[in-house]
Amino acid sequence: MEGMSTIVKKVTQLMAGIIFMYGIYIILHGHLTPGGGFAGGAIVAGAFILLILAFGSSALNLKKEVSGTSNVESVAILIVLLLALMALLFGIKVFFFNYLPKGEPGELVSAGVIPLYNIFIGIEVAAAILTIFLALVIFKEESSK
């Protein structure tokens, strides 16, 4: 898949970082403002998809990227499961129990494990959407060769 015109490439260079940072913001502030792991992960994946569409998969050397994103996705969902399992060791020993101190509601570092769940669910969603997109784009090229 080849890239697009110079205008699209330049605008993408300016915008992709901002979109990526907005996704990170949505994930980190998931327990304070609307949004969370799913929305932020989709936005982060959108930033990468924008880059890939604008610059083309050949310019970014994306041949082995598929297994990379799929590994990231597997590790992220494994960490979510481990975080939930660790609740069996602390407190009232219930799966998915919120075992960390809650802090003051409204602060960035508060709500116990919920921000951690948000972060890893966000990584998982971003990697999953990116994996599906790359599979649709790259495997077609490899099979047509």
């Binding site: 799913f38 936005i43 598929v66 979510v80 994996t131 495997f139």
Partner: protein, 175 residues
């Protein structure tokens, strides 16, 4: 507000019907975009910004992927032939539609007004969520504390979907 939502829903129905009958597949994909973005405006009017963010991002990504697929493969729809069998199908469809519509009319009289809840559980979710979870955003509190199993299920569904796409699209087997 119900009038606004009704107008948007009407546009969404028109877009969906047009997407079924468009000759050009690219315009069908764009007409499906009307459905998705209309849903975003409906979510915003019904005061659900969490859902609106997810819907607008997922809709955009889906449109991009669908447009890429249409541009890569073909833009023409398969020609439909009209024979006796399709008449039987249409009559069956109309009968099922009439039956479903009748029961829908019957059921809608027993519904509560929009926005009111009847379950005892939702009362305790809404009232004591901040003290129980520490999360100011009630939706995240429900998603990751009260209903964390649901969230785990959704994440596993996405994981399985990515695995399925990788498996189905792998043309060359691993050596």
């Amino acid at each position: 507000m119900e009038l606004t939502i009704s107008i948007i829903l009407g546009f969404m129905i028109i877009g969906a019907i047009y997407a079924l009958h468009a000759k050009d597949l690219l315009s069908a994909v764009v007409a499906m975009g009307i459905v998705g973005y209309g849903l975003v405006i409906c979510f915003l009017l019904l005061k659900a910004p969490d859902l609106a963010i997810v819907q607008i991002v997922v809709e955009t990504i889906t449109l991009v992927i669908m447009v890429a697929v249409v541009l890569d493969s073909t833009r023409d729809e398969i020609a439909v032939t009209f024979d006796r069998r399709s008449i039987i199908n249409m009559v069956t469809g109309l009968i099922v539609f009439a039956a479903l519509f009748y029961f829908f009319i019957l059921a809608i009289g027993n519904l509560d007004p929009l926005g009111s809840h009847t379950l005892r559980m939702s009362e305790s979710y809404v009232n004591g969520a901040v003290e129980k979870t520490g999360s100011v955003n009630l939706v995240t509190g429900v998603l990751f504390d009260f209903r964390a199993y649901d969230t785990l299920g959704e994440a596993v569904i996405l994981y399985t979907a990515a695995l399925g796409v990788l498996t189905l699209l792998r043309m060359k087997g691993k050596k």
